[in-house]
């Protein structure tokens, strides 16, 4: 069975974001990057399936600038077999439809049975790439899966609101987008990290793949104005403790 996992590198969400010069995205310099949280669940699910079935070959793919090689190496160290880097220095300015078209062009003749992606990225939060990819490749798709089982076919649980889930049966080829808590992503072991370092990455320039025009423009990208409603307290811990106790006594009935 052939499995594709699509991953993205995102900055740490606790970063101080600066807006880039033309006001379309954040300045990508001086940020610490890691694998998008949701995509780690996608990698882990693919590796668990391989451990269950043995005959699984996992390709991990990322569209992005040179730095995403680091994310691909980590995915290899977690247990993926091959890595594909679709090199695109401008990827952060591309919209989900454009990214999905690049991936679809790469994947269309490779016969993937299952494609795992994260349900959304932490930076854009668009939640579109996996689903658009399924439409472009004419595969079925279940999004936001919180449980996965492979046994006489595929059964997944899709997370709805308020604790409700829906149980869905689906056959291959299928795209599954992964929700938090689907599994526990493993830490790569040192020997596997060393092995992954030696593996070749296949690099394809995005310009060699099918490109589509953007369907929208970013008019502005900005820090929202603070509502100013909250009191922000800074200082030494003991001062802060005293101040908070005074506030709780004044403003609440609990102390």
């Amino acid at each position: 069975m052939k499995v594709l996992v699509c991953i993205k590198q995102v900055p740490d969400m606790e970063s101080k974001f600066k807006i880039n010069a033309n006001g379309t995205w954040f300045d990508e310099n001086d940020l610490a990057y890691r694998i998008n949280e949701y995509d780690e669940y996608a990698i882990e699910q693919a590796v668990q399936l391989k451990e269950q079935l043995n005959n699984v070959d996992i390709t991990v793919l990322s569209v992005g600038p040179a730095r995403v090689k680091e994310a691909l190496k980590k995915a290899l160290a977690m247990g993926c077999d091959d890595a594909v880097h679709i090199e695109d220095e401008q990827s952060s300015l591309k919209e989900p439809f454009q990214i999905a078209n690049l991936i679809a062009d790469f994947a269309k003749d490779k016969g993937f049975d299952i494609v795992f992606t994260g349900m959304q990225s932490q930076d854009r939060g668009s939640g579109q790439v996996g689903i658009i990819l399924s439409e472009l490749l004419n595969m079925s798709c279940v999004s936001t899966i919180a449980e996965f089982e492979y046994k006489d076919g595929i059964t997944v649980k899709r997370e709805l609101e308020g604790g409700l889930k829906s149980i869905v049966k689906v056959s291959t080829p299928v795209v599954l987008t992964c929700q938090l808590g689907l599994n526990t992503p493993r830490y790569p072991t040192l020997p596997n990290i060393m092995k992954a370092k030696k593996k070749e990455l296949l690099t394809i320039a995005s310009t060699e793949l099918f490109a589509v025009d953007s369907s929208y423009e970013t008019v502005n990208f900005y820090h929202p104005q603070k509502s100013g409603g909250s009191l922000i307290l800074e200082g030494s811990v003991s001062e802060l403790v005293d101040k908070l106790i005074v506030i709780l006594k004044e403003k609440t009935s609990v102390l």
């Binding site: 969400m13 606790e14 974001f17 807006i19 954040f26 919209e95 989900p96 959304q120 932490q122 930076d123 854009r124 939060g125 579109q128 689903i131 658009i132 439409e135 798709c141 279940v142 999004s143 649980k157 899709r158 709805l160 609101e161 308020g162 604790g163 889930k165 829906s166 149980i167 869905v168 689906v170 056959s171 938090l180 808590g181 369907s215 929208y216 423009e217 970013t218 008019v219 502005n220 990208f221 820090h223 929202p224 603070k226 409603g229 909250s230 009191l231 922000i232 307290l233 800074e234 811990v237 003991s238 802060l240 403790v241 005293d242 908070l244 506030i247 709780l248 609440t252 609990v254 102390l255």
Partner: protein, 302 residues
């Protein structure tokens, strides 16, 4: 301008968030057409037209069937914007419909301005203002962002439709959440551990503060997913919705799904090392400090 609103039913009931769709249409001053797979026994009230498929026949949600149902109505009505709620239903369907229509799609719209739609990014720390270049636009709207309280008494003109019933995924059944071990909805004080607490071994620090205050321990989703705390303590969209007198969020960033579960708390204290954490937007007091230092010091002083 004409909007096609995609209404939602769950377990035979019209979802209340469907009125958020009416809310955005009113705010934009647009004509309203709605499409839903639902039940005649519980129809939405609004002044417009409703295309209604029978959910008994085609299911409350099936991506292939519902996509085609919406595309058929788009063809008849030619709307400018197709609006979904940003829900498990909407975010799954919107990209499918957008791809079929070759239309721009914006996710989790919170506002609009001069023909652009505004969406959050980076955990709500930033905003993007986006303008569509296609003649149709597909959007999902953040639940609550266009809340519409003044419920109309108008009735829509209903036209029944029969979508085709073929799909490559099979809906088996719903599964309810396991019986909740803990009822946080009745707690007066909740002290919540977020991922900023660092590891499972640090949970007792947060629990100690909760105990000292006579309150309960809450958890954000990653804390529950990582099994640092049982799932029954989770607050948020996929956890419990609470409204205590005091909510103390320890190392919680303030993602929209967490806020949805606790923003009605009477008094909110957040402890976070990041002064810009989005939780600061709704907290009454944001203490900029390391929870591992601040929380034990506070517990000691109480």
């Amino acid at each position: 301008m004409k909007l096609l609103l995609v209404g939602e039913y769950r377990e035979k009931k019209l979802l209340n968030v469907t009125y958020d769709l009416v809310g955005i249409a009113n705010k934009l001053g647009a004509d309203k057409v709605m499409v839903a797979s639902g039940y005649e026994s519980d129809l939405p009230k609004f002044d417009g037209k409703l295309y209604l498929a029978n959910a008994n026949d085609v299911g409350e949600y099936n991506p292939n069937i519902h996509k085609q149902m919406i595309l058929d109505v788009v063809e008849k009505e030619n709307p400018d914007v197709i609006v979904f709620i940003h829900s498990s239903f909407g975010w799954d369907l919107a990209p499918r419909v957008a791809t079929a229509l070759k239309a721009a799609q914006f996710t989790e719209v919170i506002d609009f301005k001069d023909g652009s739609f505004i969406v959050p990014s980076c955990n709500s720390k930033l905003r993007r203002e986006l303008k569509s270049k296609t003649n149709k636009t597909v959007i999902t709207i953040q639940a609550g962002a266009f809340a519409f309280s003044d419920e109309s008494t108008a009735s829509p003109i209903v036209e029944k439709i029969t979508p085709s019933n073929t799909s490559n995924v099979e809906f088996v059944s719903y599964e309810e959440a396991e019986a909740k071990g803990l009822d946080l909805t009745k707690a007066d004080i909740i002290v919540t551990a977020g991922r900023g607490v660092g590891k499972k071994d640090n949970i007792p620090i947060i629990q100690a503060l909760a105990t000292k205050l006579g309150g309960e321990l809450g958890a954000s989703r990653p804390v529950a997913d990582n099994a640092w705390v049982d799932h029954s303590h989770q607050v948020g969209t996929t956890g419990q919705t609470v409204s205590p007198k005091l909510y103390i969020a320890c190392g919680v960033s303030g993602a929209i799904q967490h806020l949805a579960g606790m923003k009605k708390s009477e008094f909110i204290v957040a402890i976070n090392t990041d002064k810009d954490a989005p939780i600061g937007e709704i907290a009454d007091v944001l203490i900029v400090a390391d929870v591992l230092q601040f929380v034990p010091a506070l517990t000691n002083k109480l």
